[in-house]
Homo-oligomer: 308 residues x 4
């Protein structure tokens, strides 16, 4: 089924193609200016550091629902190997095979395409198996650090965890922004908490994956209006799943990544951060979240840290 008119109308309103020039490959990351980073630094008061990645292990968040996206297979190539002879210093070394988007990760701008195009109107077939993403590869994202703002939708709605099929609406984001006590500004990275990752942390992997609360088709306009640099949340699918409109699969991915040119983060653990923000009564912080620079990657693992 072709994408419906409704999709194309929203697409037109949030489209950023050409905004930073025809050669641009990083989209809304252009909004992170040095001034924004200075503001981010200014939010640091206590010096608390909160990690936002889930541990990387074979028993990770993937369930097999997404073909080929495997949890880390982490194996040893040496264990206490005395390479230089007996009674010398011994080394242990390991290797991994994993989907680049298997754990806590950023979706790169080349991760999805529609109508034969990726961000900035580039042809989708610029992605190949031998070269991977020739444009907008995840390594282009660079040293991704900015002001982060936690939009704690679950807490703003007075619940521990949003219901299974809940589509996070612009109104939900408004309420979370009010709770945060700060206006989301150009260049900010918004972290949207649904509480869904509690399912994974409780060992309920299938329930974590599907059905899942997530961002509504109406949220890209909210983020576009505020000119955020990136959005991450605590679900496997990022957007509400199954989708709001029958047979319209992954519209939020297409709007965020292709139309706006805005990175999306998934499987971020926002539970500890939620507690810390509530305790300190502030929801803005310096967020350091540079993706591992896989050349041509359509996504990459990240170990994000919020510094308060």
């Amino acid at each position: 089924m072709p994408l419906p008119a409704e999709f194309h109308e929203i697409a037109k309103r949030v489209n950023n193609w050409g905004r930073w020039g025809a050669a641009d490959e990083i989209g809304t990351l252009n909004l992170i200016t040095e001034a924004v980073v200075r503001e981010a630094a200014a939010t640091i008061r206590t010096g608390r550091r909160v990690p936002l990645a889930v541990p990387l292990r074979q028993d990770g968040v993937q369930t097999g629902m997404i073909p080929g996206r495997i949890n880390p297979l982490h194996t040893m190539v040496a264990v206490n190997f005395e390479m230089f002879g007996p009674d010398t210093v011994a080394t242990s070394d390991d290797a991994v095979t994993m989907g680049l988007q298997a754990g806590t990760h950023w979706d790169g701008l080349a991760h999805v395409s529609h109508s034969g195009r990726i961000y900035n109107g580039r042809p989708a077939d610029s992605i190949t198996s031998h070269e991977r993403a020739a444009f907008s590869g995840i390594e282009k994202a660079g040293p991704l650090v900015s002001r982060g703002v936690l939009l704690d939708v679950a807490r703003a709605r007075g619940t521990e965890r949003l219901p299974e099929g809940h589509a996070v609406t612009p109104e939900d984001l408004d309420a979370a922004e009010e709770l945060a006590g700060t206006t989301v500004r150009p260049g900010d990275i918004a972290l949207v908490r649904t509480g869904q990752i509690q399912r994974y942390l409780a060992g309920e992997k299938e329930a974590y994956a599907f059905p899942s609360p997530g961002l509504s088709l109406r949220t890209p306009e909210w983020f576009h209006a505020r000119d955020v640099a990136a959005v991450a949340n605590d679900t496997l699918t990022f957007e509400v799943f199954p989708p709001e409109i029958e047979d319209l699969w992954m519209p939020v991915h297409a709007l965020d990544l292709v139309e706006m040119g805005m990175l999306q983060g998934q499987n971020w653990n926002l539970e500890e951060l939620s507690g810390v923000c509530a305790e300190e009564g502030r929801y803005a912080f310096l967020l350091s979240a540079p993706p591992e620079p896989f050349v041509g990657g359509t996504g990459a693992p990240v170990a994000p840290v919020a510094i308060l």
Copy 2:
């Protein structure tokens, strides 16, 4: 050949076993207090961000010299796959196989052992193929952020790049500290620049790997005296290679990781940072360098960022 008396004497002087309790698994990372992070934040003035990782690609820094430590094999599992039918949103997905210490990385405390022990006196055989590092796995390092100080030894010595076999001495570090204009303090992360990575950047991979300048056997005491939290540099081998004392292989690894319990970073690209620090006349910054949290990892990739 057993480790010589000279090694054991230094080991005694820098040993931190028990200092943070018998259960401790993170060693000198305990020195990064919230106060240290606040001081790190205070160094941010311009908001410049400098990435320190080398790109992850098959043509990476590994040459085959270290058995089993392979450069990333980055492959596609889907390219513009219309999973939900024709004319729908299409996805591209990728996977990787790599040595955890193949690119820009942290050595975890379990990466080396000697005399049957790892950091804090734990038995080396607590590392297994099925469980990997049961103690001091790299995931324990957590959200590694602190004040970073660039010790630009090459620049302090008035050269672009240290000679091949140059062992960086405590005197070299003194000179670089003086150039930096700041005292290295407890909890800091020291970045030691030799310029050696220019060889890799110029395509001379074999020359980059070996022979290499690097830290001398005498440097662990210098770092121990200042109580730094971690040290990284811009070489493949970290310490001078071949070693200073014949048949005494990897003594600095053993002193740093096993005796002090101090993380080591390798293959960090400090070239751009060197230019920025010289230009701004300041060598301290907030350094964000959380390792990817591989459970039981003896090391992990990191995409470090210096924020000035």
Copy 3:
């Protein structure tokens, strides 16, 4: 729980250590003489070829029950890549990551140990992460071709598939040998059919894995008496699972691999072969089943073929 007296008594009776010299690494494969291969060739009448491997794909037989033994992740490194310029010959290339014992495979003699020993009394710690199996690695098995005999236990018992927990007994093997109309002889490879793989072929992967019919603790003596070269069957676990004696796990593995030095095959699809043998009224054939020669492998994939 240490291994019980009953195990040790059987072990004594089937032990082959030293039988082919202290340096031997291949155990009962020594029994495949050129005369045996000539007899195998003599069984070929119609020229029918029956494949016995299950296809290698991500949706393979592994369920995650055995940690780290992953189904093949098969990815593309190039798709129609015109490496030499436009309108030239294009290539497609692929790569795989998999457990060596994930699909249809041979267990090598180093796959299990007990009491610190592997086959021929060699120390279990001769297996390391950096060198893998220094002795009895699967590459030593060489060009594994012999006379194969199908022991169709399911058919001999007049059933399509043995019940879940059925332990195949010596009496079952006697009945299958009678059905086969040939005596199992020294150097033969016995293929024991339970029908269990029908569960996998029907998409019931969990049911295939566990609980499973399989060889009883009493069968090693039967195979030892006939001096077979190897045994394979159509289950994931080879032996009955859960085991016959509480807390005595994998005794058949230990008897076959460690004591006798006899290769075991698992996940072999014997369904088509069962039909062909019944149709032709003969159960002996030339079996070609050389393992992929992974140096130091504790097992290896195999694509066996029966030629009738």
Copy 4:
């Protein structure tokens, strides 16, 4: 540069598209009838078995010349792991990552395309990253067993090893056929020995890879005239490399795989076989060489065995 007229003329002469129907996916493998297999069996006299695969190890034949085609990275996931408690049976398990065409392998029919087509006129874009080769995947090759004939070109020319740039001509094949003392017949598998693999066996990996002797552009017609089922040799590149006509890269691949629909084997070790054939004065044998059945594979590892 588009393919020259000379190529297209040969292509016309050897083309097999439609010969076995529009639905055919295996090309010349159709020529292996049961009668051919019976004839193969009839060649077995002594019962000698000769393995033809090179061992699979990290120090394999690949040099990095072919991007993404990595030698096996073979790692341990468990070493003597007592999964069921102390003093129980312990297991060792391993995993591998490798290019499917890294060692001794078959090129599948989907391995190359030209002018947008693969064998039997199917569109090249039927190969995708998510499904791999939808047509003519290597798993379709099935239980590949036939009469093998060694065409020992090096020996027929009275040399140990063909010179570097030697293109094996039809006349060379004629001479080798005469030495073999048997006519190459429909359904046979021809093994063409150049001796080049001696370079790899001597540790000269770069010299083995390039420049290499190999099959000439004129050989596909020779094989087509005899209707062989498949051809393998003892080089990395199969055809002479660099190519005979400037800028005409991989024409033999295109003729064999795309036009004829004939599998090609590479990196086969024919040294021992050469000695055995010369000694026994006969060059035909039963060849068992079923590829590992990777679903959709554009090639696959094989552990071939010649049985004499």
